[in-house]
Subunit: 245 residues, 4 copies
């Protein structure tokens, strides 16, 4: 049994994480802490999951690391400076590890990784992401990140630009250009969060698609992080590094 | 046995039509005429298929109608004036009928028809079309036409605008706006011609997709036109009117 | 404002129907009745929605019809005898109408209708349905019904059997045979309820797909029935008859 | 310029390989040999592509290896004994390498590899393969192989059996059972060769799909083999080992 604490335990994500920890046979929920609770409540946890806010996550991580607790963090807002600070705390506390991941959806993380690997072998790659109509940004952060990874893989492999003979275009028809990769954003009532990476070459197409069907789709990834963080020395950024790919 | 003539018989499409007519048990190819052949070669045909050029198609149709031959026409370039002229010739030659269709792909025609019918029952509709990278225009003519039909169906049903909370958009991400319908054009090596109409409402999605897998995909529609043109009085514009929908 | 009553108001479906009626500007929820409530509570309703049980639905319908209330019924278990009884009550109470529908999902109903229409124009049709792994029956009732409709449409059109050269088959690989139509049932964690009808001919494919994304996907169809039942004389069986197809 | 010879040069595949070699700037076609041509015609080639027949491929490979030519082989029929023989010839001729691949379609090979990697992270995996109706076997060899790889990955990861509550099944509905993985085979006019691996877990789905759009879809994989065989010491079985995955 791994003793798990949850920070942001009453937030939308935290509630789901608490439920999932309690439902798992090999995990024990020892602390569910939210903004007005004393952080000392986490004492006794081996691993702490943090889905809180950029304003407080650094204090949270510091406290955890200095108290020998491995943090698993889904809170956003990490830049190079913050990552360096975390690395410093980990260096000062040998035996403590940390996982920071911008995306805990295993299917989404695999989609990005596979897209990046496959991109070197196809003349063309485009991305279609599809979301519910309440989403404010287009394209999604995941689609932009995927496009950047694809573009980087193609650059490293020295690939030629993608073929495209479009000469008459209705404004916007060919989507957004992210680093040379065309990205299309569909917004549709009834959808949740979906993305398709389509790769095409001479006579064959490879499609990698990810569908989020409900709001607990990130919990398997969080539990994977909780189970593995103790064995991955130092700081790990990105769930893909835990997937033995 | 229906006696069939083909005009434009050595063109890319005409060659396929000739092959398909010859392969059909109930059809007999009695004339294969191209640009340097005398049109009189068509005498003896009951139905003539015309995939030629806007410059010559009106002369072809007139000759057919005045000689009691039913034309089945895939050549483009028909406007209101041309259609009126054809109707005049048909009025003067009772018993002769004509079919003009901008698209003989049955799957594509059904996709458009179904999209139009379904559009009244879903909050959101978007179109993703996907083609080979040598295509010059984006979006495709079929996608534009589908969007117009969808928009018209929604207008007639008095529907509210589609929900869309996008406030931060990378230029082009949300596609082209055709009459209020978002249309996205993917260009990818390995593809041929494909289109998806995605309709979404409260908790459910309906997707209608059409894939063209090779260049003979229009022949079943042409043969259907050949078999039915004799029974549909006067001028018919659009293959959908022959499909008993 | 249409005054609406709900029978089975505390069942899983009934709860959603009550919510949807209350959220609609043109509908007023005047009675929410469940198994221990007196049916007289429905007096004052113009339309009553019934998602109850085969054991009680006939009594419910009779009471409604004799009290001048139009029933909209999603309860299952109607055979020819039951339908005849309902018709008799309606004949005796002119001006009262009834709608009985085995499926209120508009996308699913449209999928079935379009599949039936398209089936006459393609050499091959197969069905792939995909559901959550807790489903007891395979294939789903919707998939069986779709296959029957497709088979009937092909029979009426005098079509040849579908081409299939399979000579070496691992048991079950080609799916279940429903009236000559192959039906495949996928069971997968994370899925809800989905179905794809794939139609193929010479060089082109038409795919009609339906995705249920959550458990309220039937409410738009129920509200449509509530709004239209007053204008469709007598008994209507099947939501498709209200869709102006 | 790599000097390339082709064995089986007048076979369906060989013809495409010859064309592709001639079209590539960095490759030179120095010999196109078929069954009645003397194998000595291959002298001068650095790499030889062999799409011939199980009856002759072993003689071909031996000749190549003993003459310092690297064989790239798509011919089928290799068992453990044959592979051991090839390894013996390679040991006796240091500096000569060989590539034998059952599948040269890069998209298909990537699909299998990604499916195998992802299989460890999802509760359920099923495979739907779709082919033209002239195919004799169901499911396809690629689908069987994918299922075996998925099953092996799950076994190694110690995963529980997939959830499946099916208690009433129409015969065949749940597909073929390959090593515990359900495989469904669709046969449809208009299709070529397609496969979808669908993986599902708590609230999310990952789909990896491969579409073959024409008969030259294997040529990019063959050219990749030709370009890399000189650098991969000894015998390599499977294109995936050349893809830096």
């Amino acid at each position: 049994m791994i003793r798990v604490g949850v920070l942001g335990a009453r937030g939308r994500v935290g509630v789901e994480v608490c439920k999932a920890v309690e439902a798992a046979d090999d995990l024990e929920l020892v602390a569910a802490v939210d903004r007005d609770d004393p952080v000392e409540g986490l004492a006794g946890a081996e691993v702490v999951v943090d889905f809180t806010h950029p304003d407080v996550v650094m204090d949270n991580m510091r406290w955890c690391i200095e108290h020998g607790v491995h943090p698993v963090v889904g809170t956003t807002g990490f830049d190079a400076g913050r990552l360096a600070a975390v690395r410093g705390w980990l260096d000062a506390n040998p035996g403590v590890n940390a996982l920071i991941a911008p995306n805990f959806g295993i299917a989404a993380v695999l989609m990005m990784h596979f897209a990046q690997q496959a991109a070197r072998y196809f003349d063309s790659v485009e991305i279609v992401e599809l979301h519910h109509p309440n989403k404010a940004d287009a394209p999604s952060g995941t689609a932009r990140r995927t496009a950047e990874l694809v573009a980087e893989a193609r650059r490293k492999a020295g690939m030629a630009p993608m073929p495209d003979a479009t000469s008459t275009e209705l404004d916007g028809a060919r989507g957004a250009d992210v680093d040379g990769v065309h990205v299309h954003a569909v917004r549709l009532a009834g959808l949740i969060a979906h993305q398709e990476v389509i790769l095409g070459g001479d006579g064959e197409i490879l499609t990698i698609r990810h569908d989020t069907m409900n709001r607990s789709s990130f919990t398997p990834g969080v539990l994977l992080g909780v189970r593995r963080v103790r064995e991955i020395p130092g700081l790990t950024v990105g769930l893909e590094h835990l997937l033995d790919l």
